[in-house]
């Protein structure tokens, strides 16, 4: 076989492996009827889309729940991470490396066993099945992105600009709000996007802590899939995919190389 034929076969095979599962999902989302032995859907239609997006339907409620939880998680994370990130970037801290690593802990352990116990503790505190409970779980999970990226964003701010503001008589607080914070804003935005997506896609923590009242989009998709409603599951999955794809396209605008190189440093 000639070189270009080999290349074509390998790339074709790779395209099949990478895009095949996604194609199958799109087909299910567009299918109205699809059963054995038909290799492609028997009929296409929007019946299931109408079912998913009908006003006050489960999916719309779940979508709103998911977005609310994700936005609240972002707000909580940033409220904790902006002061922490600034301190890590600019102030003298004992045990600085250890503190940075502490935020990595929730991602460094297999999380199922931990969530089981969070659920048990929350049960006594009556936080199980509440929005607050789920937001708290998502916050801890997202904190590593928030703190690390925010710290990198502050570290990338030109120190001379802050010193100039102080020399002109600005207070430390005023310098922070008028110089450091605006200059670090793109990086902080990037960390907010990470946290938002992480919360939107989170499954395990919500599975244990959110039951039975909080049904986010991933949980709705899971339930539909297990019940065999492949069209509903596929449509919900596509909705979950949209933010991820948009993110992939815009992230480079927010996360510049000068910030990237300082992450975790």
């Amino acid at each position: 076989m000639t070189a270009w034929a080999t290349r074509g076969v390998i790339l074709g095979l790779l395209a099949f492996i990478v895009l095949g599962p996604l194609a199958n999902l799109v087909l299910w989302a567009a299918a109205e009827q699809w059963y054995f032995p038909h290799k492609l859907p028997v009929s296409y239609g929007t019946k299931f889309w109408e079912q998913v997006f009908k006003p006050r339907g489960d999916a719309l409620v779940s979508l709103m729940t998911s977005i609310w939880i994700a936005l609240s998680t972002v707000a909580t994370c940033l409220a904790l991470a902006i002061p922490a990130g600034y301190a890590l970037a600019r102030l003298k801290l004992p045990w600085r490396t250890a503190i940075l690593l502490a935020f990595l802990l929730p991602q460094a352990f297999p999380s199922v066993a931990v969530y089981i116990n969070v659920a048990r503790i929350f049960y006594d505190l009556k936080l199980n099945g509440t929005m607050i409970g789920v937001i708290l779980v998502h916050t801890v999970h997202g904190l590593v992105f928030a703190v690390w990226i925010t710290a990198a964003a502050f570290a990338a701010v030109d120190r001379d600009l802050e010193l100039a503001a102080r020399n002109l008589g600005g207070s430390a607080l005023r310098t922070f709000f008028t110089v450091s914070l605006p200059l670090a804003a793109p990086g902080i935005m990037a960390s907010a996007i990470f946290v938002f997506l992480e919360s939107l896609d989170e499954f395990t923590g919500t599975f244990f802590v959110g039951v039975p009242d909080i049904i986010t989009l991933p949980l709705l998709m899971f339930t539909a899939s297990i019940a065999g409603n492949y069209q509903i599951a596929a449509i919900t999955a596509l909705v979950l995919l949209v933010p991820s794809v948009v993110f992939m396209l815009v992230i480079e605008r927010f996360l510049k190389a000068d910030v990237l190189s300082k992450i975790g440093a």
């Binding site: 790339l11 999902l25 492609l40 801290l93 352990f109 297999p110 066993a113 499954f203 599951a233």
Partner: protein
Amino acid sequence: MQDRGRLGMALVAPALAAVLVLFVYPLGYSLVTAFEAKGGGFTLGNFAKAFEFYSVDIGFTLVIIGLSTLLIALASIAIGGYLVLGENPRAVALLRWLYRWPLFIPFVVAAQCMRSFLAKNGLMNNTFVALGLLEVDQTTGFLDWRGIVITFVWKQTPFVALLVAGAMASLDRSTIEAARNLGASRQRILFEILVPQVMPTLVVGLILSFVTMMSVLSVPLMISGESPTMMTVDMAFRINNYGDYGTANALGFISYLLTASCAWVYLRRAVRQ
């Protein structure tokens, strides 16, 4: 200076407290519960029960994750290597565009994709039948432990490949050119020059994805909920069906140990260098 240190600690404290209360405390709780008898007091009974019921799944968890990690490593090296050494610019550009797709796809969505794709009558088998590679009655579904491996490799390879390709691209080109001029084949350049130099990046990527795979519940639940499956499914089952925290936490403890031993191997390597 002391004041600034104190201010720094005050600014970091709320975030640290969140991690302590919402992560470290439950983690400690799970470690203690793993060794606690129903009425209180120390016991190893939870572990006896965990091994009695789930030793097969513990083994399968190791096989699934070990095999996935190996395949991810090979695929990442192949992708990274071709991106750096490939001679056909169009093929390189196509590969660069193609391999990243699963990167930002959530695990639940990946699981749903695979649940339909790998089924007995899914798009994969349908394509094979349509191409004449298989007869209709020869098809088998892959929705068992193999499906979990396929989903993990599909989802995690882009992440590791991205790191590896980045590390390979930033290496000094002159050694590669020198080897090429001396007539070394591309395979030799890849395995004797590129791979040894990007080993630290590759290992970090693999460890991160190892922990991720140990943590994911949705993929094994959706691809293969029946035994043999992964420990994460068993933990959820013990809790949801029996409220049996002892056994679930014993399984959790075992999963911490597996992850820790993997991290330890890495740290020892890092220290030796």
